[in-house]
Amino acid sequence: MNEEYLWDKSGEPDPEVQELEEILAPLRYQPKPLELPAPRRNNYLLWAIAASLLIALMAGSLWLKFRSQQPVQQEQAKSFPSVPSVFKEQPKNTDPPKTNPPRKRNRKSINQREHEEALAAKQQVMLALRLASEKLKLAQRRTQAPSPNQIKNQHRVG
C-alpha cells in the first residue's frame, strides 16, 4: 500500500481507498457561505407607528370637535345685534342708579348684564320657536290641504 497517497494524494492510489473515497464523496466538505437563521422580525416599529397614528387621529377628532363648537360662540356674539328691534323687549330699569357707589354699581352692572343677556336670549328663543312653530304648522297645513280637484267638487256641491 502506498502511504504517500494517504498523506498528500501523491503516488499510486490503493483501489480500496479509491472505492472508499467514491462512496464517501457526497459527504465531502463543500465550501459555501454561512447561512445564519433569519432573525425574528421585530414588530415594535409597526406598533409604534400605529399608536402614533391613533394618537394623531384622537387629537384631530378632539380638535375638530372643539373647532366646531367655537364658531357657535363667536356667532352668538355676532348674532345678538341682528335680532330685529321689533322682537326686543325694552328691559325695565336697566340703567343702574347714578347715586350708587362704584363697587356696588360694578356688581350690579354685572348682574344687569347677565339679566340683559338672559332677556335677549329669551327673546331669541321665543323668536326661534315662533318661526319653527310657524313653519311646522305651515307644513302640517300644506300636507293636510285637500287637492284643488276636491275643492272644485266641494264648490260645485255647495
Partner: protein
C-alpha cells in the same frame, strides 16, 4: 410589550369610535355657507342659542304664565336653537346651491325627511328629524320660496307636536313671513 401595545391600540380605538360617531351624527347644521345672503336680504333673522343661553332664558320664563310654562317645558332638554332666515325684495336672490349646502348635511343615515311639500306657487318646505334610538335628537326645517329662505335647526329632544301648537301663544309680534307674498288674487 407587544400585548401592551395591542391593548393600548384597542383602548384607543374604543375611545376614538364614539368621538367619530358623534362627529358624523352632529345634529347641528352648519349655515356658514349662507353668510353671503345677508347682504342681499332685505330682512335677516339670525338666531344662535346654545345650551347655556337656553338655560339662562329658561330662568326668565315664568311658571305662572301658562304660555311661558309651555315654552319652559319645551326647551327643557334642548341643547341649541339656530335659525337663519332671509327675506328678499326680488326673486332669485339665492341659488339652488345655497339650499343644497344645507340639504346635503341632512342626507346622512341619522336624518329622516318627515315632510317635503313643494309647489310652484308656495315654494318648498322640508322637515327633517334626527332619530337617536326612538327619541328625536334634532329637528331641521328648510323653507324656501321666491323671496324667502329659512333654515331652522333645533338640537336636542324636541316635542314637535307641542312646538307646532305654540304658534300664536308666545307673545311675540307676528313675523309676517307667510304674508310677504302679494295677496291680490285672494282679495279678488
Amino acid at each position: 410589550m407587544k400585548l401592551l401595545f395591542q391593548k393600548l391600540l384597542i383602548a384607543g380605538l374604543l375611545l376614538v369610535a364614539p368621538i367619530c360617531a358623534a362627529q358624523t351624527q352632529d345634529p347641528r347644521i352648519k349655515t356658514g355657507s349662507l353668510d353671503h345672503l345677508a347682504t342681499k336680504a332685505s330682512q335677516t333673522v339670525d338666531v344662535n342659542i346654545d345650551e347655556r343661553l337656553i338655560r339662562m332664558a329658561s330662568r326668565l320664563l315664568s311658571e305662572k304664565n301658562a304660555d311661558e310654562k309651555d315654552v319652559k317645558q319645551l326647551i327643557a332638554g334642548i341643547k341649541g336653537i339656530y335659525v337663519r332666515s332671509f327675506q328678499f325684495e326680488n326673486d332669485g336672490q339665492y341659488s339652488p346651491a345655497d339650499v343644497e349646502s344645507i340639504r346635503s348635511q341632512l342626507r346622512g343615515p341619522s336624518w329622516t325627511k318627515m315632510v317635503n311639500v313643494t309647489s310652484k306657487k308656495d315654494g318648498s318646505l322640508e322637515v327633517y328629524i334626527l332619530l337617536q334610538g326612538e327619541q328625536i335628537g334634532g329637528l331641521a326645517v328648510i323653507s324656501s320660496d321666491d323671496r324667502e329662505f329659512t333654515v331652522v335647526n333645533i338640537v336636542g329632544p324636541v316635542d314637535i307636536d307641542k312646538l307646532s301648537k305654540l304658534e300664536g301663544q308666545l307673545g311675540v309680534p307676528e313675523l309676517g313671513i307667510e304674508s310677504t307674498k302679494p295677496k291680490a288674487k285672494n282679495n279678488e
